[in-house]
């Protein structure tokens, strides 16, 4: 791709390492502290963790004459009761049964039992009043539950971790074969850095996360792999170019990084744009905005991390790896020459 600019990334290595290290260290620290004193390294959502719920089951509803969808008045009653009690749900689910329906509001485990119990009482009282006033609801009952989810994302996380480990190892080995050891080290660094940064940022932001965290962790590594293929291909090509061979290691790396900068920023930016568009659109229809926030935030963090890690951080650090690698290579060549003489 065309050179967009003339960024001197190599000279910024120390600054970039400091920025990344601070974010990763902060994320790991916050995550570790929360692991012991709060609800886990990440703020797990109901895919992984327990939750409290208020469920209203209703049967044989006939709001004859009122013209209302049976769900609507019940939902109105519930929402008013939760508002009065000062609690907010993060997911609402409703469904039909053969004889009626069921609506469930989920709350995090930190939601006050007293407040939820008060809301349940208010809902039941209000529904009773509705039955008397409209004679419609034959049976309806609100109850408070605390659920312990046994499995949802646990297995997905462990399998994703194995996949990421295999993918990173494969990436490294493939680059040793097809590129050079220094480039393979650079690719390995990019994978590890981007993954660590993604984990740290999610641990820092404390948004309730579902099993999507695993999916976007794998996508982070995948985009990094694609990005490093473009980056190190430019380095490989430029190293072979007779005119560019004269350049210093830093200049050559900066040139290669600038040539691949467009791809390595635009590709994650396209996916980030998709996240933002989805967030805007789904916010209109979502029953609970928090439900859409988590996957969108996961994706945004993943794509921003990939853009920064692959296009900016990796070339800066790679230039120094290459410097050391070239020096070692020169040393071994000199040694071989002396030995052959």
């Amino acid at each position: 791709m065309q050179t967009l600019n003339n960024l001197k990334l190599s000279s910024k290595m120390h600054l970039l390492i400091i920025i990344s290290s601070i974010i990763i260290a902060l994320g790991l620290a916050v995550g570790t502290v929360c692991h012991f004193v709060a609800n886990g390294f990440f703020n797990y959502s109901d895919d992984f963790a327990s939750y409290k719920s208020v469920t209203v089951s209703y049967e044989d509803i006939d709001f004859s004459g009122s013209g209302k969808d049976p769900l609507e008045p019940i939902a109105e009653i519930c929402e008013k009761a939760f508002k009065d009690a000062g609690v907010a749900s993060y997911i609402t689910e409703n469904g039909d049964t053969t004889t009626g329906g069921r609506i469930e509001y989920r709350f995090t485990t930190v939601a006050s039992d007293e407040k939820l119990a008060a809301a349940v009482e208010a809902i039941n009282a209000e529904i009773k009043k509705e039955v008397l006033s409209e004679g419609g609801i034959q049976f309806s009952y609100a109850s408070l539950h605390t659920a312990e989810t046994l499995l949802g994302g646990g297995k997905a996380i462990s399998m994703a971790a194995i996949t990421i480990a295999c993918a990173v190892a494969l990436h490294f080995v493939y680059f040793i074969i097809r590129f050079r050891l220094t480039m393979a080290l650079g690719a390995l660094l990019a994978d590890v850095h981007n993954f660590a940064l993604y984990i740290a940022l999610l641990a820092l932001c404390r948004v309730p996360l579902g099993s999507t965290i695993a999916t976007f962790a794998v996508l982070t590594v995948l985009i990094t792999i694609i990005g490093t293929c473009f980056l190190f291909d430019r380095v490989r090509k430029n190293c072979k170019d007779d005119n560019l061979k004269k350049l210093s290691v830093f200049e050559l790396t900066d040139k290669s990084a600038n040539e691949s900068l467009l791809i390595n920023t635009v590709m994650p930016a396209c996916l980030a744009a998709l996240s933002v568009v989805l967030f805007v659109l789904l916010s209109i229809s979502s029953l609970s905005p928090l439900a859409i926030l988590a996957p969108v935030l996961c994706s945004l963090v993943a794509f921003v991390t990939c853009a920064y890690g692959t296009a900016i951080f990796t070339p800066a650090v790679y230039s120094h790896i290459k410097l050391v690698g070239d020096a070692m290579h020169k040393k071994s060549v000199d040694k071989a020459k002396i030995l052959s003489k």
């Binding site: 791709m1 997911i91 039909d96 794998v218 694609i226 473009f230 635009v266 789904l282």
Partner: protein, 500 residues
């Protein structure tokens, strides 16, 4: 290539794309059927994940526990014969009615339900759903809630395809019933449990006869494969040859699974294959494998004696009723943005890239529909990542060709050299992504495995279409007078040389 030949190929391709696009996107009532039959487009026939079409969940009440509605149906019916018995027998406990007898050993009862939930969770985990949950309600520890994706297509979700909707709900309902079967394995002489006798020695556990049970699918055949241990092989042959004729039935708990063995003939191999229906084979193998591994459910759930069948509730997606439509709109916006960008940057060549993008989208939609992979929001991101891979591979080679034209080469030579220069870069890129996608599909479970499969298709499509772009470039550029302008390039060196 001649202009006529080029025009014919281009017209045929565009017509094919147009027709396929119509079939892929437009759903309508079939004319002449009085609006009875409906054609559902490819896109509305893709199976969608729980984030787009919600989940189906069932509440599992153990024997001795019934829902408030079940209780009220009888207790509020003054004409019911069972009314007095119900009022006497049950007591309300946090949203459910529990038999008083069960509450005498409440802790033990609750602990058994919690253990059952773990076994049920393991069984649903083996089913490979893109997302599922099994939960026990803490304050009302008598009920287990099982939630799985409905696997509805958009047509089924919106009830345009009610047949498919009810089929899928029935499948889930059957799966819930099979995976919650309680009790141990046995081999019996009759299909009715009450009228049957166990053929296995009272001191033996039939489950110990087997080392493993797995599900096999090959060439449209679905089979439960049961592998016997050496000891199990000897013992089962002794049982089979001790009778002269008849049929032995494999039971899980009190339910016959319909897996039969002929009596009177010894088995020749230590592996037995059974071929139940496609939908049951996987469920049976999971249950039998679970029992062999020690995962036995102790309570009977939603049994008739409790007066409550398994009611499946299909809930709406937490992202709203139109989540799938919004996802489609978002993806379309990205595709349009990509097309606009490529047209601005590469003029008419950008339209070649646009055609390739449309073909890519059609390949993904058709593959998802045919394979039946579940599409979730993460899956859509994966498909867009595949599109990015294709687009940037094309842009990367377009730039290589641009460099060649700047050196003064004619466009055909530039294309040839550009593609040659980028051959290994693009190959490396696709090989790495392809291997990672295979890893995802094989190692991961649920949503990630589905993403792996989508990425696999996307990578193959991307690489194939990368070369197809080159072919289309040749074909369509044959119609253009100025091939350099066609690509939005300029031949600076050549022009400078002319000037000199």
């Amino acid at each position: 290539m001649g202009k006529v030949k080029s025009a014919i190929i281009t017209a045929l391709l565009l017509a094919a794309i147009l027709v396929l696009s119509l079939f892929a996107t437009i759903s309508c009532d079939v004319p002449g059927t009085n609006n009875v039959s409906r054609y559902n487009s490819f896109i509305s026939s893709i199976n969608l994940g729980s984030d787009l079409t919600g989940e189906a969940y069932a509440l599992l009440y153990p024997e001795g526990v019934i829902s408030v509605s079940d209780y009220n149906l009888v207790a509020n019916d003054e004409g019911s014969e069972d009314r007095e018995e119900y009022i006497e027998k049950y007591v309300l406990r946090e949203g459910v009615y529990v038999e008083k007898d069960k509450l005498e050993n409440e802790d033990e009862f609750v602990a058994s339900i919690a253990e059952d939930a773990k076994v049920i969770s393991k069984r649903f985990g083996d089913k490979g759903y893109s997302k599922y949950s099994v939960s026990v309600e803490n304050e009302c520890k008598f009920v287990i809630r099982v939630a799985v994706p409905t696997n509805f297509s958009y047509a089924a979700y919106k009830d345009y395809d009610s047949g498919s909707r009810s089929t899928k709900l029935t499948e889930i309902s059957n799966t819930v019933q099979v995976l919650t079967i309680n009790g141990i394995m046995s081999l019996r002489d009759n299909t009715e449990y009450d009228n049957s006798n166990s053929l296995i020695n009272i001191n033996d556990d039939f489950a110990d006869f087997f080392s493993s049970v797995s599900y096999n699918q090959f060439a449209g055949q679905h089979a439960v494969q049961m592998n016997l241990t050496d000891e199990g092989f000897e013992k089962i042959n002794k049982v089979l040859t001790s009778a002269s004729e008849g049929t032995a039935y494999i039971f899980a708990g009190e339910q016959s699974l319909g897996l039969t063995i002929e009596l009177g003939t010894a088995l020749e191999a230590k592996t037995m294959y059974f071929t139940p229906s496609a939908s049951s084979a996987s469920d049976f193998s999971i249950v039998l494998s679970s029992i062999i591994g020690g995962g036995v459910i102790t309570n009977s759930y939603n049994s008739d004696s409790a007066g409550s069948g398994t009611v499946l509730i299909a809930s709406t997606s937490a992202f709203g009723d139109y989540a799938a439509i919004y996802l489609l709109v978002a993806v379309l916006l990205i595709i349009i943005a990509q097309i606009v960008l490529s047209v601005i940057k590469y003029k008419t060549l950008g339209w070649v890239n646009a055609i390739i993008t449309v073909i890519y989208a059609l390949i993904i939609v058709t593959s998802l529909m045919l394979i039946g992979t579940q599409l979730t929001i993460a899956g859509a991101f994966t498909a867009v990542l595949g599109l990015a891979l294709l687009t940037f591979s094309n842009f990367y080679v377009f730039e290589a060709v641009r460099q060649q034209t700047k050196l003064g080469r004619v466009i055909s030579a530039s294309i040839k050299t550009g593609y040659k220069n980028r051959l290994f870069t693009i190959l490396d890129l696709h090989i790495v992504v392809l291997v990672v996608s295979i890893l995802m599909a094989l190692i991961c479970v649920g949503e990630l495995a589905a993403c792996g499969l989508i990425l696999f298709i996307a990578t193959i499509a991307s690489y194939t279409l990368y070369w197809f772009t080159k072919f289309m470039w040749y074909v369509i550029s044959s119609l253009a007078k100025d091939k350099v302008a066609f690509c939005g390039y300029s031949r600076e060196v050549f022009e400078n040389a002319n000037a000199e």
